[in-house]
Symmetry: C2
Subunit: 345 residues, 2 copies
């Protein structure tokens, strides 16, 4: 492997000049520039990134904008763990991560957190663009400042993000439907249970539902699909009553909850000994893990929450440190979890 010194010798120039050519810095005559470029090509020279990192002796700080995490059952607990792992692995490059948290159900808090982020200067931004309008305006600011950013978990079309890392929601719904079609029989019925609080995540949740319904439509299966929305209240009795009424339709055998809130239904099923009901939901958090182990939940679709954070962070570091340009869309595997494979993540 040739070094900058070798190239300089071959071109009869100093290493400073070679360095200028490599980084397209001004101050080199066209002629010598071309000569050097040719030699670089010819000898397939590649810069030694270790030496580069050492010489630059630069600190990199990326900002992370994700929802606040209250407990280890929260979805965002895992992406944060992933971010921390990636950050730790990159410590040798003097990297650091600064968090900006917001309330998942309050667009104002999102705005505030984003604005606070923009007050400082960062080398890159990792964010979950939960609120569409509030995001778009501020992305322009990032673009003007030439700060690269990556989306995780929520896809936002038409932005200049260098990458999106998350799941293909529609197809994950279709997979859920396929399994549901195996769990229930002809003439039985299935209900999609939406949780009002989730609606904030509109696109992902709605896409999952579309994928789910589309599967049954395409296959023309003789299974009726209902849809209900759980009341948005802390009053457990009101919720229980609502579920009770919903399930009074005896033909209902399958429940699909297109979010991690599947535990609400799992609790009900367990409490009222309705284990004959089949249940499919999303995301492995501590609560859901219990229900999948005792088979109250039949299948869980995993979003690779940890990996979203891990990969998002690594993608940004690789981009700003090593100039590695990622794929625009990194759709993660649609992982299916059951009692049998939940140990291996």
């Amino acid at each position: 492997m040739k070094t900058i010194k070798d190239i300089a010798a071959l071109a009869n120039v100093s290493i400073g000049t070679v360095d200028r050519v490599i980084h397209n810095r001004p101050g080199v005559s066209k002629k010598t520039k071309e000569r050097i470029e040719e030699i670089i090509q010819e000898h397939n020279f590649q810069i030694n990134k270790t030496a580069r990192t050492l010489a630059l002796n630069k600190k990199y700080d990326i900002a992370v904008l994700i929802p606040a995490i209250e407990s280890s059952s929260d979805f965002w607990y895992l992406p944060k763990k992933g971010i921390e792992k990636a950050s730790k692995e990159n410590e040798i490059y003097k990297t650091s991560v600064s968090y900006f948290h917001f309330n998942l159900f309050d667009s104002n808090s999102f705005k505030e957190a984003f604005d606070k982020l923009l007050e400082n200067s960062f080398d890159a931004v990792l964010l979950a663009p939960v609120f569409l309008i509030e995001t778009q305006k501020r992305l322009i600011e990032l673009e003007q400042r030439k700060i690269p950013y990556v989306f995780i978990n929520i896809e936002l079309q038409g932005a200049s993000n260098i990458s999106y890392i998350g799941q293909h929601s529609f197809d994950s719904g279709a997979l859920a439907a396929k399994l549901m079609s195996l769990l229930v029989h002809r003439e039985e019925e299935v209900i999609i249970v939406k949780v009002r609080k989730d609606n904030i995540h509109h696109s992902a949740i709605e896409d999952r539902i579309s994928g789910f319904k589309s599967y049954f439509n395409t296959k023309a299966l003789p299974i009726k699909i209902h849809e209900v929305i759980l009341p948005n209240t802390k009053d457990q009795i009101a919720i229980d009553t609502f579920i009770y009424k919903t399930l009074s339709n005896q033909r209902i055998k399958g429940l699909f909850v297109p979010s991690s809130k599947v535990s609400i239904m799992a609790k009900y099923i367990e409490k009222h000994k309705l284990k004959h009901l089949k249940l499919i939901g999303y995301d492995l958090n501590e609560e859901n893990a219990v229900f999948i182990k005792n088979e109250t939940i039949d299948f869980l679709i995993d979003q690779n929450a940890f990996f979203q954070g891990y990969e998002g962070t690594k993608t940004l570091f690789n981009f700003i440190i090593n100039d590695i340009v990622p794929e625009k869309n990194k759709y993660l595997p649609i992982k299916l979890l059951t009692k049998e494979n939940i140990k291996y993540l």
Copy 2:
């Protein structure tokens, strides 16, 4: 972050002495050694690995011992791709990989390849310990030479491998059984189809079968399980005749092939228009991908072949370059593939 120079100043010694302490090299008086260690502790000093890598300017070469790859349909095609990717990502550390291939069905060729490997000197070894006896003897040699090694795909108990990267075969069989139990109905029957050529991989294949049977036993499902071994011949007519006879039992509705050779059965099913038969197998190669897309194969259990190679290689590089000690058993996710999620790997 403190540097070696800072520590040296604080301890009133030269950086050479600090370096000796850090690496436990001899030639430092007990007293100064202790003093330096204390200062290192106190200031939470961590060595700058970038500088270390640059100063060492060392080349690392790891040897890879895996079966020969004839076509892109071979299982080992993907691990090799993963090895290449990891190797490429590590190029900045002047790393390289040397391959030693053998015939999966010939223990002699395995011995020869391994012996050839041992003739040279490597910093680490990545291997698939296909042949038990032949492996064990040679691992002793590696241990004597203090060469770290990692197993992929095949688990070998009682060795001093720094890690095993692969699937938990028994549990993957149980998962296959769970899905099979959804695909077939009461009183129907299921057949496990072994392919003689696979027997070489004894442990993994047998463990999958055990897991599969164990699921039906534990659940006491009223589904009879048969087991057959396909004749080991190139004579397609003989094979077809054997399958024809096997399937003459009209109650058989489900087929489980505990290996990537599931395509043999898929071809038969397609040719003879037997799509009512449910089919579950292993591994996503080009052939199997076609059959999963047209739903001849219902479910495929993926071994993360690519990742086995990738992670195995990274694990070794991290160990020899960055002193990162891996987990002893890295069981990979038991990934379930269907038409709906096969796009996302």
